[in-house]
Each structure stands twice: as structure tokens, then as C-alpha cells.
Symmetry: C2
Subunit: 265 residues, 2 copies
């Protein structure tokens, strides 16, 4: 069994230290195997210029990585959490995967939402599955959910569980993730934030309701809409490796690839 969970937070825009402390305080005495934090958990979401977003960007060897290493060592968990990644001349809406003293990798959000297209470059590296703590972790960020190819690709690459940092503002994702888990027989953890941001022309109300979904589409944990919240559940992660639905059906072997849209269409 593996202990996996999320931390649902209320980030304060632009105040990394306070946002780190909020999470650290929630993790006192927590032991786990995998913990997912929200998208852009340290910075807030609603930038008003590219310059502002750049001003919060970091490489994977600065404050945010130090913080993630600290809480990884403290909890024993691999941590997946969002940050603005500085890489050469580009910035990305990324999720860092950190285990103990090691930055495993950063996933760069492939499907950008709304004005993110003005601040960030689109992810330029393939979807990937990371095996850490004997868990095969597929990573996606927020709006990636709406493209069924995202979780499908991660599941076909062998993911047991989808780590899904999010800053959700539309009401659709939480229900859709039930289908994502079910159609791929993978676990999923959506770690969302709460609160609101009014900056420039934009007003965003974040929807909370972070959740953990089983391979059968059951809701194993569902956070409130408007409270800072942490929850851990014990799951038998290896169940995600068997795609058999019944004696006659296997969700992966039954795929009829010759009849699906081809990528060059």
C-alpha cells in the first residue's frame, strides 16, 4: 500500500515565503509516499504582464526547489508541485518532481490556458512517467485534463497515478477526472487551490475540491470548495497495472488503433 495525498492551499499572490510556510505547517507530522501541491503554489496565478511572471521564475536550483527538498525529506514523500520555470530565454508553467534531495525533473505544461499563452512558452518536452518510491507517476497540469490524449498518453506510458497540480476556475474538471481515471484504470490526484485573485482585468475564483480518484472512478477524497485542506489515502498502487475489466475485456488490449484518428490528419 502507498500513502498518497494532496495539499489544497490558499496562495498569497507573490509571497513565496508565506506560501511555503502555509504548506510546511500543514505537513508537520505527515508521512507519505506521494504528495501533490497546486499549480504555481508559491507565486499565485493571475499575472498582469510577462515581466511580472518572469520576476517570479526560478531554475530548478533555487528557493522553490530548496523548499520542495525540505518537505520531501520531512515527509518521506515524492513531491509534485507547480512553479514558474526559468530555462534559457523561456519561462514555463511547470511542475517540479522532487524526491528527498533530488530534483527528478520538471514537467512543462503542454496545453496552456487563456492568458498563460501570453506569459509562458508551451511545454516542449514529451509527457513522461517517473518511477519514484515504487510508484509510476504521470504528471500533467490543470487544463491538460481537457485533452483526453494527456492521461491516455501517460497511462500508455505506464503511469499508475496521475499527479495533477491545478488552479481550476471552471466547474468541469473534477467530474471529468472520474472519467479520466475510469477509462485508463489509473489513480489520479488533483491538487487545486482555493481563494480568489483580482488583478488587471481578470477576476478568478478558484474552485478547490481537490480530489483523489480510484481506478474504478470512485472518489476516495474530495476537499471542500473553500478551505485549506490536506488529505492522505492508502491505495494499492499496483492495481493500476492490470487493465482487465472482465473475462473478455482489457481496456488497453481492446483499443482498435487502426480505427483512431491518425496524428497526421
Amino acid at each position: 500500500m502507498k500513502k498518497v495525498g494532496y495539499v489544497q492551499t490558499a496562495p498569497i499572490f507573490g509571497d513565496k515565503e508565506k506560501n511555503f510556510n502555509q504548506i510546511e505547517n500543514l505537513l508537520v507530522n505527515v508521512k507519505a509516499d506521494l504528495l501533490v501541491l497546486p499549480e504555481l503554489f508559491a507565486t499565485g496565478y493571475t499575472f498582469i504582464s510577462k515581466e511580472e511572471a518572469i520576476s517570479f521564475a526560478e531554475t530548478s536550483n533555487e528557493k522553490t526547489s530548496q523548499f520542495l527538498k525540505k518537505i520531501s525529506k520531512m515527509t518521506g514523500a515524492v513531491i509534485v508541485g507547480g512553479y514558474i520555470e526559468q530555462a534559457e530565454n523561456e519561462i514555463y508553467n511547470s511542475a517540479m518532481i522532487v524526491s528527498n534531495d533530488r530534483v527528478v525533473d520538471s514537467y512543462r505544461k503542454i496545453h496552456l490556458y487563456y492568458k498563460e499563452k501570453l506569459w509562458f512558452s508551451s511545454g516542449d518536452k514529451p509527457f513522461k512517467v517517473y518511477e519514484v518510491n515504487d510508484i509510476k507517476i504521470g504528471v500533467m497540469i490543470c487544463f491538460d485534463w481537457i485533452f483526453p490524449e494527456t492521461v491516455r498518453t501517460l497511462a500508455l506510458l505506464g503511469a499508475d497515478i496521475i499527479a495533477h497540480p491545478a488552479n481550476l476556475v471552471l466547474p468541469y474538471c473534477q467530474n471529468a477526472m472520474i472519467t479520466r481515471s475510469l477509462e485508463n484504470r489509473v489513480f489520479s490526484i488533483t491538487s487545486n487551490r482555493i481563494g480568489e485573485e483580482n488583478r488587471g482585468e481578470d477576476h478568478f475564483q478558484f474552485t478547490g475540491q481537490s480530489q483523489i480518484i480510484s481506478i474504478h472512478g470512485e472518489n476516495l477524497s474530495l476537499a471542500p470548495k473553500d478551505e485549506i485542506f490536506i488529505e492522505l489515502v492508502d491505495i494499492d498502487i499496483k492495481k493500476a497495472r492490470d487493465k482487465k475489466l472482465n473475462e473478455y475485456n482489457n481496456l488497453f488490449k481492446d483499443r482498435r488503433q487502426d480505427f483512431y484518428y491518425q496524428n497526421d490528419n
Copy 2:
């Protein structure tokens, strides 16, 4: 605006005439543009041998097609409904598309469920979209829903609406179709049956709750679990042709095909 709907029936196993009459009585005075009937609406579902399934099979020029032409002429609607298709030496779990005096085509179910694999051959023709009555209709049958590639393929082929004859026995599909419509911005009509069948080792309780979903994932119609039911709604079908989500996002143009699983993986 187009008037589209479903007929949720309680088929009597093996009694085609009674099953035809049940539907015809529900359609008195109905005028519509598209009507969807359940999977295998004339025969029932739970066969106990291949021979038995073969005994109910028809070409597209026999009793069932005559009935479908009759109700198409009566209602003015293109009809999509399930039957056992006899074709050379194979039988298929198919859906016939009938408009007025014409059999447009038959779709052969591509993803067979459970013991259907013992009776039927798997669909051997590509997913296709049929333009009839100025509606671009994508057809799939029951279990096809669980493979996200099905609706995705039909939507990329230009479907405005998914006509989905079903004999659902699991509790997942109705909720998943909300996501299918939402992720592809297509309308969908799931026409399910009610009642139960106890034949051989199998006991199936069919779940009813036929439904019509909008391009935004709204439930425009939801039938009861256990009543014969017909419902029609007026929809602006052309709304499905615009995949724009907001000023920055378009659900089809934002696809990042280079990062999705390739068919030869």
C-alpha cells in the same frame, strides 16, 4: 434549430414485432430531425449461443430496415438504431442509419463488450460521419464510449452530434458522456433500454437514463431508470462546429499531436 431525441424502450427478447410496435406507438404524432433507438432494439441483448444470435440477424434489406424506413417516413427524422447485421459469413452488432426510404449505412460496433465477442465479429469499417437532414451524425454503440478515441475520432471527422444506441449495464457511461461532449464540443444522444434479461448464466439489469448532452456538458434531457420514455429537444446543431473555448483557446487547434501516443506504439 434541429429537433433531436431518443426512444428509451423495454425490448421483449426475441419478439421483433412487439418491439417494433412498442416504438411505433411512442412515435405517433412525433416530428423530428434525428431519433436514436437503443442497441439491438428489436431482438434483445443476452444471447446464449452464436446460433441464437445468427437466427436474429438480418441484412439491411429485411424486416428491421423496413420498420426503420416506416418510422423515418412517419416522423421525418433520420433514425439510428441497433440490429444484428448479417454480412456474408459474419454477423455484427450494428446500428443502421435510415433516412426516409434509404438505408444510409450500417455502423459495425468496433469495441465489443463481454460475451458479444463470442457472438459477433468486431467492426471492420472505419468510424464515419453521415450528413443527413443538415446534421453531421457520428455513430457509436454502447461500450465504444469508454475509449476516448471513439468520440474524438468522430468529432475530428466533423460530427455535430453523437448518436449512441446502447444497452448499458454498468453505472459509468451516463456521467462519462458529459465529459465526451465537453472535451469535443459535440452534442450527444445516448439511447438506452430498460428492463432485465436472465438468460443462461447472465443476468443483466439495463440502466435506462437515456440522455441528451450539450456541447457544454449540460444535461438537456435525462430519462428515468425504469420507464419507457421518449424525449425531444431543440438544439442549434451548428454550435458544435465552433471549437473555440475562449479568446485564447480552441479545443481542436490547441491539440499538441506531436506529444500524444503514436498509433504504432
